[in-house]
Symmetry: C2
C-alpha cells in the first residue's frame, strides 16, 4: 500500500527530501520532486508548493486537492525513467471549458518535475541551517549557453550564486541577484524572463525562505496546543521553560527545540533576532517581567503576551521603576492581549487565535475576511514583491 | 500512571462524563466534576469550563494552565469522600499580592465540585442529542426552601424545568427562565441572585450550548485539515462527499458523521438549519452549483465557498439562468473567498484561516487583533447577554 502524506507542512516535505538524499547510496535517488511553477487564476496551492514522489511509492505533500495527483504520478514515473527534468503544463480548463474560471481542478498549472539528486543539496542544506535560498531553474533559453533544467542557487545573505557540479556557468548574475534575493527572503516563487546579451532567458525562481521562528516562553499545559498548531502552520517552534520536572521535549512533542533555563538567562540558550516571534505565557508575573524586559531590548519581530492589557501596563510600570527605558518601536511590537478576537475560550480556541495572529503578522495582513478583499487571493504577490524598492 | 487530557475540547470532557455515567453500575460514580463558576479579572478559562476527576485517576480538561490542578485534585478527593457538592474559592492573589492583576495563577476563581451521579444525566442527554441546556445550581439561599447544591435543569426549546429525582421543588421558574434560556443558547455561564418572596437566592446558571454544526461538502484531501481543526475547536463536523472510493469515515477520522450522496440529494442525508455552518470545497463546478443552490434556499448561518469571488458570481449567473431567485439575506451569509486573510498557502494554513473565520462568525466577532480591544477579553459577556432584549 502506498502512503500519501497529502497535508504535511512544506517543511516536512523538505525534511523528507533531505532524509531521502541522505539515505541514498548514490548521487541520484530514484525519487522525483514536483514543484508548482505557475498557476492561472486562483489555484489551491501557490507557486513553490512541493510534492515528493519517492521511489518506495510514498508521496509527501500535494499540489492540488487531489485532481492532478494521478497524472503527476505518471509524469513522475517518466522523469524517473528518463532521468531528466520535465516542465509540464496541466490545462484542466479543457476538461470542462464551459465553466471557464475555476480552482484546483479547473485551472492551468505549470509543474517542474526533477529527478532528486545531490544537485538539490544546497536547497536542503539551507533548509537544515534555517537560511533563505532561491532555487533558480532555466525554463526556456535563447542564449545558447543554457538549456531547460539548468540550475543555480542564490544565497541572499552572502549575495552568492552556487552552480551545481557539472552545471553550466555564465549566469546573468547582475540581473538575477535582486529578484532572487526578494523571492528567497519572502518565500515566494515566480517566473522571470530576462534579456541576456539580446537573447531571452526564462527562469523559475523558487524562493524557499527559512521558517519563521516561534519561541514560546512558558511550560504550562496550555503551551501544548500552541506548539501543535504553530508547527502545523510551518513555524519552527522553540519552547523555553523556567521550571523543572518532566523534560520539556517529552511534554511538547511538536516543538523543534526545548530549553529549560532561568528568566534572566534566556539569551544564553537561544538567540533572538528580527525573525523571531515571541509568545509569553509563563503565567508568572516575575517570569513574564524578566522575559518581556529581554524581549523589549531585542530585535524580535513580535512579542505576544497572554493576559489583560492592564497586566502589561503593570509590567511596564515595574520596568520603569527599575530604570529601564522602553522605546516606542519596541512597544509597537507588543500584542497584548495576545491573539485575534475569534471569541473562543478553550485551550485549542485560544491557541487557534494566537497562531492566527502569528500568521497575519508574519504575512503582513491586517485581519479581515477574505471576502472583503477584491481580486485574487495569493496571485500577483510575487510580482508585487519584485516591484518593491530594493 | 495517571493520564491528563488537559487540552481536550469541552465536548470531549462531556463525552467522557457521559461514558463514565454509562459505565457506572450504580447511580453514583466515584468521579468528581469541577466547573468554573466565576473568575475575577481575566482568567485563562471562562466560567463553565469543566474538568473531570475520574476515580481511576485520569483527568479530562483543565480549569487553569496548571497552577490550580493539584489543589483541585485534593478538593475532588474530599468531594469523593464526602459525597457532597462543594463550592470553593481559590484566591491566588494572596500568593503574590504585590502583583495584583494577574491571570491564571494570580486570580480569584470560584469552582463548583460535584460528585458525578445520575443527577447530571439531563446535561449529558442534552449534549448527546445536540440540544442546549442550562444547569442551575444553588450557591446560596435565604429562602429556607433551597440549600447549596440544589439542582434544576432548564430546556430552552420546551421552556421546561426538570428537577432531579429527590430534588427540592418550588424553584422561582418565572425569574429563572429568561436568564437560563439566554445562557443555554449562548453557551455562557453566570451567577445570578434573585429575590424570591423577599429572600435572596443565588444560583449558578451554567449554559451548555449544543456544539455549532459544521457541514463540509467535498472529499478532497484538503478537507482533512479542516475537519481536524474544526473538531479541535469544538464544532460537530459532518463531511458530505459526492464521490465513491475509500469510505469517508476512514478518510476523515476527525469527522463526527460522514455521508456519501449526490449533490441533488443533500437534504436526504442531513438537515440544514440556522445553526449549520456550511463549507463548500468540492472543487467541481457542477457539484458546487447544486450545493450552493441548496444552501441558499436553506436557513444555514454561514456558507463558505472556496475559490475566487468571480467563480461565485459565475455560479450565481448559472442559478439566475436556471430561473432560481436568490435573496439578499441569503447572499449576506455567503463568504467567498472563504476564510480570514492570514496569508498562508499550505493545506493547514488554508484550513486554519477557514476555521478562524468560522469561530469569528459563530462568536459574532469582526476580525481584529485583541490588542485593539479595550477591557477584559471574555469577562462581562454573560452580563451583556442577560441585558439583551428578550
Amino acid at each position: 500500500m502506498t502512503e500519501h502524506d497529502w497535508n504535511i507542512p512544506e517543511p516536512a516535505v523538505l525534511n523528507r527530501v533531505r532524509t531521502r538524499l541522505e539515505a541514498s547510496a548514490t548521487e541520484a535517488t530514484e525519487d522525483v520532486l514536483a514543484t508548482i511553477v505557475s498557476v492561472e487564476g486562483n489555484a489551491y496551492r501557490r507557486p513553490g508548493a512541493k510534492m515528493l514522489f519517492a521511489a518506495d511509492g510514498t508521496h509527501s505533500g500535494s499540489l492540488t486537492p487531489g485532481c492532478l495527483e494521478d497524472a503527476l504520478q505518471k509524469a513522475a514515473a517518466d522523469v524517473r525513467d528518463s532521468g531528466t527534468i520535465q516542465y509540464v503544463t496541466y490545462d484542466m480548463m479543457e476538461d470542462d471549458d464551459v465553466w471557464g474560471l475555476g480552482i484546483g481542478c479547473h485551472g492551468i498549472i505549470d509543474v517542474l518535475l526533477e529527478p532528486l539528486t545531490a544537485q538539490y543539496q544546497p536547497a536542503v542544506d539551507a533548509f537544515a541551517n534555517r537560511e533563505d535560498i532561491a532555487v533558480i531553474t532555466v525554463i526556456d533559453s535563447e542564449t545558447g549557453v543554457h538549456s531547460r533544467g539548468d540550475r543555480a542557487y542564490y544565497d541572499p545573505v552572502d549575495d552568492r550564486f552556487t552552480i551545481p557540479a557539472g552545471g553550466s556557468d555564465n549566469w546573468p548574475e547582475d540581473a538575477l541577484a535582486d529578484p532572487a534575493r526578494k523571492m528567497a527572503t519572502h518565500g515566494r516563487s515566480t517566473v522571470l524572463t530576462i534579456t541576456d546579451a539580446g537573447n531571452e532567458l526564462t527562469v523559475f525562481i523558487d524562493g524557499v525562505a527559512a521558517r519563521p521562528e516561534l519561541v514560546i516562553f512558558g511550560s504550562g499545559h496550555d503551551v501544548e496546543p500552541v506548539t501543535e498548531l504553530a508547527a502545523k502552520n510551518e513555524f519552527h517552534v522553540t519552547v523555553v521553560g523556567f521550571r523543572g520536572g518532566i523534560p520539556l521535549s517529552e511534554r511538547f512533542p511538536y516543538a523543534d527545540e526545548t530549553y529549560a533555563t532561568s528568566p534572566g538567562s534566556i539569551e544564553d540558550v537561544i538567540s533572538l533576532h528580527d525573525r523571531t516571534y515571541a509568545v509569553v505565557m509563563t503565567h508568572n508575573f516575575v517570569d513574564d517581567l524578566l522575559t518581556i524586559e529581554t524581549l523589549l531590548n531585542s530585535p524580535v519581530a513580535y512579542i505576544g503576551l497572554m493576559g489583560p492589557r492592564e497586566r502589561f501596563e503593570q509590567l511596564l510600570g515595574e520596568l520603569s521603576e527599575s530604570g529601564a527605558t522602553v522605546t516606542a518601536s519596541a512597544l509597537d511590537r507588543v500584542y497584548t492581549p495576545i491573539g485575534l478576537n475569534l471569541g473562543g475560550g478553550s485551550p485549542y480556541q485560544i491557541a487557534h487565535s494566537i497562531v492566527a495572529e502569528l500568521l497575519a503578522v508574519h504575512n503582513e495582513q491586517e485581519p479581515a475576511h477574505l471576502q472583503s478583499h477584491a481580486g485574487p487571493i495569493h496571485g500577483r504577490v510575487a510580482a508585487e514583491i519584485l516591484k518593491e524598492d530594493s
